[in-house]
């Protein structure tokens, strides 16, 4: 995903003279080609996330299209009020791209975890919230929304799913029909894990802030007579996919995700998934 981000930055900086990329002292090496191509439109701004957000807003007011990037907790949590006021309220076209959502940086401890970024970004009016889970999905969602005038948030996870289908912004994707009348909405790489559960219908959700009318009508009809509706997200059960589905379709959603607690162990990603009850076995059990 980070590789795709580097490609998209490079292409965008080449194709759109209004684009500008700012990073908070990460991914500098990853984005070196972007810097080489347009040194006047690439800035490693330093470790000052709140200022980077405000600056991006000022650049957008001046007609530019900034992309800002760093690790999720440092941008979403630390600079939340700047994102709310300077990007959301001013309604400026700034694209926020983060890595390190949930516990991608598992061994670095809770300071580097971010279990609620989707919820926080969904709280900001005007913000479009995306969780692409393959490089191709990221490219599609990024390209189709670039230049739409709206603030945007992309959460890039370290993991990705292995399914091959096309996505569209603001569209929920029916990946598998239900055989038992139950349906599960899922976001992120754990789609693969959810598909291990037999019989249940699976709907994949890469846009977590809004849904277009056509998709809304289609999904509404599908789940109209559902025996049970679930959500599975690698995120707090508060404020994320489960809430989005529940408020959109006015249905009771059985939410599978992270409890409201710090995951204080270290180790690798799999270790923390197990701690969070979000490993494949646990998800399958919860969906059985």
């Amino acid at each position: 995903m980070r590789g795709e981000f580097a490609k998209l930055c490079l292409e965008t900086i080449k194709n759109d003279s209004k684009s500008v990329v700012m990073v908070g002292d990460i991914s500098h090496f990853l984005l070196r080609e972007t810097e080489q191509v347009a040194p006047d439109r690439f800035y490693n701004i330093g470790i000052c996330e709140q200022s980077m957000v405000g600056m991006a807003s000022g650049m957008a007011i001046e007609g530019m299209r900034p992309i800002i990037h760093t690790i999720a907790p440092f941008l979403v949590e630390r600079a939340f009020e700047q994102i709310k006021n300077d990007i959301g309220y001013q309604n400026t076209e700034v694209t926020i791209v983060t890595v390190g959502g949930t516990y991608d940086y598992s061994d670095l401890g809770c300071t580097h975890h971010c279990y609620g970024d989707i919820a926080m970004m969904r709280l900001i009016p005007n913000m479009q919230v995306f969780e692409p889970s393959t490089p191709q999905e990221f490219r599609t969602l990024f390209e189709k929304t670039w230049g739409n005038g709206l603030p945007k948030y992309f959460r890039l996870s370290k993991e990705q799913h292995s399914q091959d289908f096309k996505v569209e912004p603001e569209v929920m994707k029916v990946v598998r029909e239900s055989k038992d009348g139950r349906w599960v909405f899922v976001s992120g790489h754990i789609l693969d894990d959810v598909l291990e559960s037999p019989n249940i219908g699976v709907i994949y959700v890469p846009t977590l802030s809004s849904i277009n009318k056509e998709s809304y009508l289609k999904i509404s009809k599908i789940i109209e007579n559902a025996k049970k509706v679930y959500s599975v997200e690698n995120h707090f059960t508060i404020g994320g996919l489960g809430d989005f589905v529940s408020e959109t379709f006015n249905v009771v959603v059985n939410r599978i995700g992270l409890e409201r607690k710090f995951l204080t162990n270290y180790g690798n990603f799999s270790n923390l998934r197990r701690d969070a009850g979000m490993d494949r076995q646990s998800i399958t059990k919860k969906l059985s």
Binding site: R41, S51, M55, G58, I61, P66, N85, Q90
Partner: protein, 244 residues
């Protein structure tokens, strides 16, 4: 533009609308008067201390951008001018501010965008001394220096409002050590302000010594009591008379 008239509008609006940060606006009057004198077509101003907006609204009215009625009814339901400025409601408001420490980073980004795009015009930004408690002010100043933004003029409205909590002890040495050009001026002397409002090869900081509530002695002497208070009818009459 007449500074007495600006002060009268500030007091009149606070009285009429029954709210407003009068002292914070009164300290800004000469700064905005000077800005309006030097302002070029392409220049923009960010009022980072957004609560001083009554002075900005008075200036915009006297420049012919908003009718007096709009200013007097600021903060009422469904009007363009709020208790803090909103850029999406009036074209002449460059940035929406209110929460402190946000305006300068926006101004720095705007100045940088102008450098990138070879666009003319300076970005002015008014920062309060209370606001200088915010780390984002110092971060963004450092970024402005690092990127050689010689189209950014930061005016510090040093009205000493922060003596009751974390006094920032602002001085020219501080800003010079950051790498800015610095001017120390009497913030109520329009000529001094005008002479300072230019930029050469690095970001400029104009440290303007001001008095919170300037022009109305009773407010000057009780700046904290008056921070967010509207005058009664009797006080209003008295203040208008004092301003002259």
């Amino acid at each position: 533009m007449n500074t007495k008239e600006m002060r009268r509008i500030i007091v009149q609006a606070a009285h009429h609308a029954k709210h407003g940060h009068m002292p914070s606006a009164l300290s800004l009057v000469e700064i905005l008067k000077a800005y309006s004198e030097v302002q070029q077509k392409e220049d923009e101003i960010v009022l980072s201390k957004g609560h001083g907006c009554l002075a900005l609204y008075a200036m915009l009215h006297l420049q012919g951008h908003v009718p007096l009625d709009e200013v007097l009814n600021f903060g009422k339901y469904n009007v363009k001018l709020g208790g803090h400025p909103d850029r999406n409601k009036l074209d002449q408001i460059y940035a929406s501010t209110g929460s402190l420490g946000h305006g300068l980073p926006i101004a720095v980004g705007a100045a940088m965008a102008r450098k990138i795009q070879n666009k003319k015009g300076n970005i002015f930004c008014i920062v309060g001394d209370g606001e200088a408690n915010e780390g984002s002010i110092w971060e963004s100043l450092l970024i402005a220096v690092s990127n050689k933004l010689n189209n950014l003029i930061v005016i510090i409205d040093y009205n000493k409002s922060q003596i009751r909590s974390l006094e920032p002890n602002l001085n020219t040495k501080m800003f010079k050590s950051f790498g800015c050009d610095v001017a120390l001026v009497d913030g109520h002397d329009v000529e001094q302000l005008i002479d300072s409002m230019f930029v050469f090869d690095k970001p400029k900081v104009v440290l303007a010594n001001t008095v919170k509530g300037k022009g109305v002695k009773e407010i000057e002497d009780n700046m904290f009591a008056w921070h967010h208070r509207a005058p009664t009818d009797e006080e209003y009459e008295k203040f208008i008379e004092v301003i002259g």
